[in-house]
Symmetry: C2
Subunit: 492 residues, 2 copies
């Protein structure tokens, strides 16, 4: 502690990295591109997992586990998917090490232990899962299959950033199999809605629901639904995706079922996922120059109580008040920590919990004992107030809701202020440069135009909003007709 963070204005990217490391969320490891998720960061991820897992199970999904490795011949079976991931695959080629004959304290790969077929470390699991589903599906009675997996995946990224883009990351991947196209589409939409619900009501991140353009679609999907969020630096972040895969994987792995009518048909598929990338979105949406700001629903510690005292006797008096408060708050389901360590001073603790985004801090000093009060500080607004001790529990209960709502509302206002409608390419470039954010513009629907815009500006179509109103217009690049605005942005 002590050293301040780089401010967002000075260098947003540096601010983010310093915050993630100093708030004890994660750090880079000895393995290129792979991170260590530290206990405090992992505790937030566990809260996310618990909530998502509950939502998945409530909608009929079950968890399972499939192998980490994909044999190359399975990996290449669905061509578009294989092509999409081939350039970023970690490949296992050998299964044994041996002592280096030239240096007995070193190990070398044993050339005699070469695999007959290379194994790909899964970048995503469609291939291994659909090769398994083949054995599970004979008739319509075996459908739907509604399975989710919590797992690690590896994509060999060249430029990595903690949580946002790492070679290994943690995620969940749902893989479902259906008898009809309509049912599969409904599933893909349902899961995208669940992601939006989670992002807005738990992470306090407003998102725009929609679909991806063909360029931005998942490799192997017919349609990719997504939720897009806006970060404080005006760049967009894809927070979750849900794919309608058509019959592509069923055809690649020959997964057919006998329908009620007795016909043999290919199965329809979806897949959907969110990852530890959400941690990056959480940090970048709410945090400030003092450090992390956490929505109460995802904060591992919602309230911290810090005693300010001189001598054992005073500490004992304060602890009596504090411990009673802890018991009452715990009974109300509030996660609270009383930090009476004597190895650190109150000022250090204040700074530490501010940096780590604890939503409410309560300080109790000698004057508070006299007056029967406490000092209560909100992390989101950085405001303080004096509260009578007997009102603390009710106050905290209210604040848990108020802070959650305030964070969402603050982010929503920022996001809404950064959706700019433009009608010309000049305007587009100007807004992108001066203001950033989402740019709402007409587009002629072709990949060609999107790629040209990307080449010229680095902005891409983040989302074709599902609730976008139909209006006639002209593509900002080509002038060709368009019937709906789409949202462009630079993106993480």
């Amino acid at each position: 502690m002590g050293s301040k963070l780089t401010t967002r204005n000075q260098d947003y990217s540096k601010w983010y990295n310093e915050l993630v490391v100093n708030a004890n969320l994660a750090e880079n490891s000895a393995v290129r591109g792979c991170m260590v998720i530290k206990p405090y960061g992992y505790a937030i991820w566990e809260k996310m997992q618990a909530e998502l897992d509950r939502m998945f199970k409530e909608t009929g999904h079950e968890n399972a586990y499939f192998p980490l490795f994909v044999p190359k011949s399975l990996f290449e079976a669905e061509e578009k998917n294989a092509e999409g991931f081939a350039k970023e695959c970690a490949v296992v080629t050998h299964y044994r090490l041996k002592t280096d004959p030239e240096n007995a304290s070193k190990l070398i790969v044993d050339p005699e232990a070469k695999l007959e077929e290379e194994l790909i470390v899964r970048p995503t699991s469609e291939a291994i899962i659909w090769s398994t589903y083949k054995g599970w599906v004979q008739s319509y009675r075996d459908l739907p299959i509604l399975i989710n997996q919590w797992a690690n995946v590896v994509r060999w990224e060249m430029r990595t950033r903690l949580f946002l883009r790492t070679a290994e990351f943690l995620w969940q991947e749902g893989h479902t199999a259906h008898a009809t196209k309509a049912e599969a589409i409904a599933e893909a939409e349902q899961m995208n809605n669940i992601y939006a619900d989670f992002a807005e009501n738990f992470m306090a991140i407003p998102v725009i629901k929609g679909t991806k353009s063909e360029n931005e679609r998942f490799a192997g999907a017919l349609e990719t639904y997504c939720i897009e969020a806006l970060m404080q630096d005006g760049k967009a972040l894809q927070a979750g995706t849900s794919h309608f895969l058509g019959q592509n994987f069923a055809k690649a792995f020959d997964v057919k079922f006998a329908s009620k009518e007795g016909n043999l048909e290919y199965v329809w598929a979806t897949s959907w996922g969110v990852s530890t990338r959400l941690m990056g979105a959480l940090v970048m949406t709410h945090s400030d120059d003092q450090g992390l700001v956490l929505p109460p629903k995802l904060a591992p510690i919602q309230v911290v109580i810090v005693p300010i005292y001189k001598g054992e006797e005073q500490l004992a008096q304060i602890s009596e008040v504090a411990n009673e408060m802890v018991d009452k708050l715990k009974a109300e389901g509030v996660s609270v920590k009383y930090d009476d360590r004597d190895t650190q001073k109150p000022g250090w603790k204040f700074a530490q919990y501010e940096l780590q985004g604890v939503p409410v801090r309560i300080a109790i000093g000698p004057k508070d004992l006299e007056k029967g009060s406490v000092e209560l500080a909100r992390r989101d607004t950085l405001t303080k107030e004096i509260v009578p001790q007997e009102e603390v529990v009710e106050k905290i209960k209210g604040l848990m809701i108020e802070i959650q709502e305030n964070l969402y509302e603050r982010a929503r206002i920022f996001r809404d202020d950064h959706i700019t409608e433009v009608d010309t390419f000049e305007e587009f470039k100007e807004v992108l440069k001066s203001k950033g954010g989402f740019i709402s513009a007409h587009w002629d629907g072709t990949s060609e135009s999107e790629l040209k815009i990307k080449d010229k500006t680095k902005a891409t179509i983040r989302v074709i909003p599902l609730d976008g109103k139909k209006e006639n217009g002209a593509c900002i690049l080509t002038g060709n007709p368009s019937t709906q605005r789409v949202l462009f942005a630079k993106a993480y």
Copy 2:
């Protein structure tokens, strides 16, 4: 369904494999030695995880996540550990595939994307974790570090069996760092006790707590604590291990701390783990020729209700009774399923839930409607009785405890009946051949004798019991003096 399992007497090993597959626990995958854990099996594993995770957290541990890959130079740093795992390592050597120039629909490993340093897929994480801890520890204030990780690991086993021995498996691995030797030993013992508590009180598996002989110790440990269980075929199964690692890893990765007295000292370490192997132990301890038998505390479905009816009207009447029962049982925290599917007959359902080990089955037919009763069947004893409907909830609450205890007691009696004291090597061989189980015998404490006994009989020292009484005796092999009996067995 329909086809019966091979019986245990016919072929124990075949019985086990058929059971695991047919009860929908797991199956082999397209990847050599890797399994697919199916939803029903995974649901049991999730219950185990939840309980263990609670126990770890109650004793002050936090979860975190470390990289899947270990660079070879880190892997080889602790020599004994490296030597122990070198022969079963999956090695990543490349990070990209490319289109096969001779066949555009195939992919090959891109020779230009060879890694400068090979990456080992973690067989265990001491190396990567201790290289991380180096950055976390400066002073005694930074200790202890009490971290657990839920993860997948890979050990290239040549002969694999579902759950018991697979190339990839799921586990938790705790890795702690301490200022003193005594504290580290206490931690290793505490975690072994937690494993024993979990095995006995949740899995209903009696275990013997003790330490391993040097031969059987974890590679890199100074002492390995373990819990050993006995399977129905008389073979032992190591259910969990907890290692006192001394300062081996601290020295290998140069992790020192400034003590309160200002000295620079190496940190003391432990690691401890249980894996999806526990699923195999669970199956093999309790199950019978009809299929899986589950202790209520780990059963995803504790009670299933099956209606026996003709026609919609009768079903409606039965459903009214059943649904009320479901609500009342759920209110008591019992996990209950009402299976009113019309696609399967009652007989099929009975057999299926028997195979899947649901602890209690309730059947409700037209006669039960008349009499206000239900038929209640226990999976553990395969007994049935008629119970008045108004007594069902209390009955079930009692049965959940009774079945849990009965399973433990049954396994304990079997285990105790299969601990045989012998005083000569002839007797030893005879008991091993005719009866199996644990053989309690004197041993002279040398690796040499243990290895000779293993060569001659395939039995090894499974555990040196912690509560074994001291008595003077003579090693069954060499006749050299011994002060305590140890337990030998053939093992999984």
